[in-house]
């Protein structure tokens, strides 16, 4: 399992009234005290708007200023939307980088941002454009209460059991918006001879809920864990890295240790590759055009530290001309969609951040940019069609499936 940044219980409790509780003041101060602002320079939002209010330093210091009576949390309703929840600043902060383990003191900007957004909603102040998030959540929660067979329609014809020691966890975004991703994952696992099942009725794993309603998020978390246990899961394979962070970071924070192992699909496939169970026939590498680079999804790379297995898979594809950018250099990149709500809150900034990411790939001569996340695929496909940058995004599972001669 990936290393986790420290989880601070005070970011999950609601702040009532105007006083900021002492542990939060101290936590904000630990960031303010440094003021080196390394966090600022690595932040993809700051790189676009160059406004230091929209950085880890900015958010922590703003809240510290609230605690000193200079303003209210309500005054942050617009600025607090300017965060992708990408985690770059957490890693770049010396509190994390140099002594996070030593003092158990890593900086947790994402938790702080979510908390402030939630508190604003609870106070009925809300934040800029938060209604968009609410209606998106409503649409997705509708799937949960809708007909059960709809939730697994993506798997039609694949004959996957509804239980097993290994469960492929398919979230609603994959199930309804990027259906080819779970289908390819399933086809690849089947072709590799892996036994696995899926849940008949998975709950919602919406990160947007962490910005709006923690209670609903945890309710669905409980449902998912119970369903997985009931299905006999010992190992849960994730195909959405956002979900991977929710399971490994947030579920454990709220529900304690999980009764099963949680793994990401690229780790599973890299393992199968090593065992010789992923036959790349070579003749099917037709999806590869020119130079190929890999985009680290923020969630996988910055929040969970998974960056080796996707590279291993890409580098092993037959005929690939792979130009890599190191995972550390990619701390300052983001596809622009953000961990949950960002694109819906700031479509323009989201587009510019995505276009910049594609341009960075073009600058190193890449024609294709491999992604390992359905949201990155969705976002970069959207951006590339508008931006005119000659780089096309392609999902890693598409390439693996093609290399194995599988058609979805």
């Amino acid at each position: 399992m990936s290393p986790q940044l420290s989880l601070k219980p005070f970011y999950t409790q609601r702040v009532e009234g105007t006083t900021i509780p002492d542990p939060i003041v101290k936590d904000c101060y630990a960031v303010f005290a440094c003021r080196h602002k390394f966090c600022r320079e690595v932040c993809p939002v700051y790189q676009d708007d160059r406004d230091e209010a929209h950085t880890s330093y900015g958010f922590h210091s703003s809240l510290l200023a609230v605690s000193k009576g200079m303003g209210t949390v309500g005054d942050l309703r617009e600025s607090i939307t300017n965060c992708l929840e990408c985690g770059a600043c957490e890693l770049r902060c010396p509190n994390t980088l140099f002594a996070g383990d030593f003092y158990g003191s890593s900086t947790t900007t994402v938790d702080l941002v979510r908390k402030v957004r939630r508190d604003l909603v609870a106070e009925e102040i809300g934040f800029e454009r938060y209604e968009e998030i609410v209606s998106y959540i409503d649409r997705f929660l509708g799937y949960f209460t809708g007909p059960e067979e709809e939730l697994t329609r993506w798997a039609e014809g694949l004959e996957i059991p509804r239980s097993g020691e290994s469960i492929l966890f398919v979230d609603y975004f994959n199930a309804f918006e990027t259906t080819d991703v779970p289908r390819k994952a399933a086809r690849i696992l089947q072709a590799a001879g892996a036994d696995f099942g899926i849940l008949a009725r998975p709950g919602a794993t919406l990160g947007e809920l962490l910005d709006i309603s923690l209670e609903t998020f945890v309710e669905h978390a409980r449902h998912n864990v119970a369903q997985l246990e009931a299905a006999g899961a010992k190992r849960v394979i994730m195909i959405n890295p956002h979900d991977y962070t929710y399971f490994t970071r947030d579920y454990t924070a709220h529900l304690g240790e999980l009764p099963f192992e949680v793994v990401y699909i690229t780790d599973v496939l890299a393992e199968l590759l090593e065992e010789g169970k992923l036959p790349f026939t070579g003749e099917t590498a037709r999806g590869l055009l020119g130079k190929v680079s890999y985009h680290d999804p923020c969630t996988l790379n910055k929040i969970c530290g998974i960056n080796a297995s996707p590279r291993k898979l890409v580098a092993s594809l037959p005929g690939v001309d792979f130009v890599d950018v190191s995972p550390v250099a990619q701390w300052s990149y983001c596809c622009g969609k953000g961990n949950a709500s960002f694109k819906k809150l700031h479509p323009d900034k989201s587009y510019k951040i995505g276009a910049k990411r594609l341009q960075a790939a073009a600058d190193i001569g890449a024609q294709q940019l491999v992604v390992a996340c359905p949201h990155c695929q969705d976002q970069l496909t959207d951006v590339s069609s508008r931006a005119g940058v000659p780089v096309s995004p392609v999902h890693i599972l598409t390439l693996v499936a093609q290399a194995m001669g599988l058609d979805a």
Binding site: A33, C34, R35, R50, E52, A53, Y57, N95, A99
Partner: protein, 510 residues
């Protein structure tokens, strides 16, 4: 006094709509948090002072013309105006003392021209150096200004503070690396200063050396809106060499001998004193396992062609070994050097009576001649010890570093700094006064040792500023500074209150 504040407020109220008209509402920020986060720079201020220092507005201009317009508005309405770059300075330069307008220049971050043949680059002042070098790297060019704050400073802030570089002994410091610049004067006029009137010339005998006036003025004389910088070819080889020693005296001898060795590949020499080594042993994984006889360290960084660096390495090993230094091994040398921009300070470093106490980092720097270093080091630690004894919950001695200070030479004088942890969160006015007095004492020791109050950051924080103006600059320089300030800034709008320059104006005498 009350009347003066009213005047400023009235001026501000008249200026605000004009600022909005000039820049558009999205770049004129009045929310409390925009102002609060731009009140601070990177040195401790005592949170009890924060609210008093909030500016009235933050503006984010996007061009020279917009900066000039903002300055003209400020001048017309006599509203204070403070330039802000990276906001990572250590001299409180970007902290407004009299409210008014903070001009955040970070939106102006374009590279305007790269002249590969003559090795110069022309940039807007809001660009950060790491960003700039990322662009230059594919061309095998390098802007070698390398402060420990390298990833976060803006070129404009480096100019405003007349910065010092870790590699200055090899490549020069900011005043050497800035070839020319465009400056918006306090009246809104735009001028260009350089070596003579040229943009890309390193040495000229034409006219006065006015460029120097605009390097290190801490935003009191103008706002730089464009700068042409000197670039170096990327060196073929880099080699950091660290020696552990048993004493400060051994390290001091080693850095002196290295400085006088005549090696041109030396880009910097530095040493860690005993307190610094003890401090690093608190939580630094590289330093914790070192044997207990290690009390200090001396180090150098070599740059050049591979052949030059290899030859120099043998000389350095010979000098270090013969004077009691033990080579610390590749891992720690490369690791420590690689993290020079990253680690500096954590609030968790602070200790009070052996317990962790969140503290912020204060860095008191000075320029000191080689021969005076041991005495200054002893006396500074004594001041820190007295302060800690009196306020054990509020201060903590984090040790000293010393580095070569002269540009293009590794001998003569050194930047030395004492790092002190300050408990800002629990600061009171009474304890703050003791802190200010300690800074006065530290600065006074530097001047009495024949040194200068600051080598890098600026000698103008509360306390030390009086020693700078009335003791170090006493032989007519401070008087001339006041005349120049009055001439360029008739209404005292540019960063008022800094360097005691209010004394240049009627009613401002201290």
């Amino acid at each position: 006094m009350a009347e003066a504040i009213t005047d400023v407020q009235r001026g501000f109220e008249a200026a605000l709509p004009e600022l909005v008209a000039a820049l558009g509402p999205e770049h004129v920020l009045t929310d409390f948090f925009h102002r609060a986060i731009r009140t601070t720079n990177a040195s401790p201020m005592g949170l009890h002072l924060w609210e008093k220092l909030l500016p009235d507005v933050v503006v984010r201009p996007g061009s020279t013309a917009e900066v000039a317009e903002v300055v003209r508005i400020a001048n017309r309405h006599k509203v204070p105006i403070v330039a802000r770059g990276g906001g990572a300075g250590l001299a409180d330069g970007a902290t407004p003392l009299k409210r008014g307008i903070v001009v955040d220049i970070k939106r102006m971050h374009a590279v305007l021209e790269i002249d590969e043949e003559n090795q110069t680059v022309t940039v807007q002042p809001g660009i950060n150096m790491q960003e700039l070098n990322k662009i230059l790297r594919p061309l095998n060019l390098w802007y070698p200004d390398d402060p420990a704050s390298y990833p976060v400073n803006a070129v404009g802030g480096r100019i405003g503070s007349g910065g010092w570089s870790l590699l200055g002994a090899g490549y020069g410091h900011v005043p050497d690396l800035v070839l020319s610049m465009e400056v918006v004067l306090p009246t809104g006029d735009v001028i260009r200063v350089g070596n003579g009137g040229a943009r890309k010339i390193h040495k000229s005998s034409t006219g006065y050396r006015l460029k120097d006036l605009f390097l290190g003025h801490q935003g009191t004389l103008g706002i730089c809106t464009e700068a042409t910088l000197d670039l170096a070819p990327r060196p073929e080889a880099e080699l950091p060499i660290f020696f552990a020693t048993e004493s400060y005296a051994d390290s001091h001898r080693i850095i002196g001998a290295l400085g006088r060795s005549g090696l041109r590949t030396i880009a910097g020499i530095f040493m860690f004193d005993q307190h610094k080594v003890e401090f690093l042993r608190r939580d630094d994984e590289a330093w914790i396992p070192l044997p207990s006889w290690v009390k200090s360290a001396a180090a150098t960084i070599l740059y050049g062609t591979r052949a030059e660096v290899e030859a120099a390495r043998d000389v350095v090993f010979e000098i270090g070994g013969s004077l009691g230094g033990k080579y610390m091994g590749t891992e720690i040398c490369e690791g420590d050097w690689a993290s020079r921009h990253d680690r500096y300070h954590l609030a968790y470093h602070g200790r009070a009576n052996g317990q962790i106490k969140l503290m912020s980092w204060s860095c008191e720097d000075a320029a000191i001649n080689y021969s005076a270093l041991p005495k200054v080091t002893r006396e500074w630690h004594r001041i820190a010890a007295d302060l800690v004894a009196k306020h054990p919950e509020h201060f903590d001695d984090w040790g000293m570093f010393t580095y070569t200070n002269g540009p293009f030479r590794a001998w003569g004088d050194y930047l030395t700094e004492i790092d002190i942890g300050v408990n800002e969160l629990e600061m009171t006015e009474e304890i703050w006064r003791d802190w200010v007095q300690a800074k006065v004492d530290i600065a006074r020791i530097s001047v009495r040792a024949g040194g200068s109050v600051s080598a890098a950051h600026g000698g103008q924080r509360e306390g030390e500023v009086d020693v700078s103006c009335y003791e170090e600059l006493a032989e007519g320089q401070f008087d001339l500074m006041k005349s120049i300030k009055r001439m360029l800034d008739p209404n005292n709008i540019m960063n008022p209150g800094k360097y005691n320059l209010d004394e240049a104006y009627p009613g401002g005498e201290s």
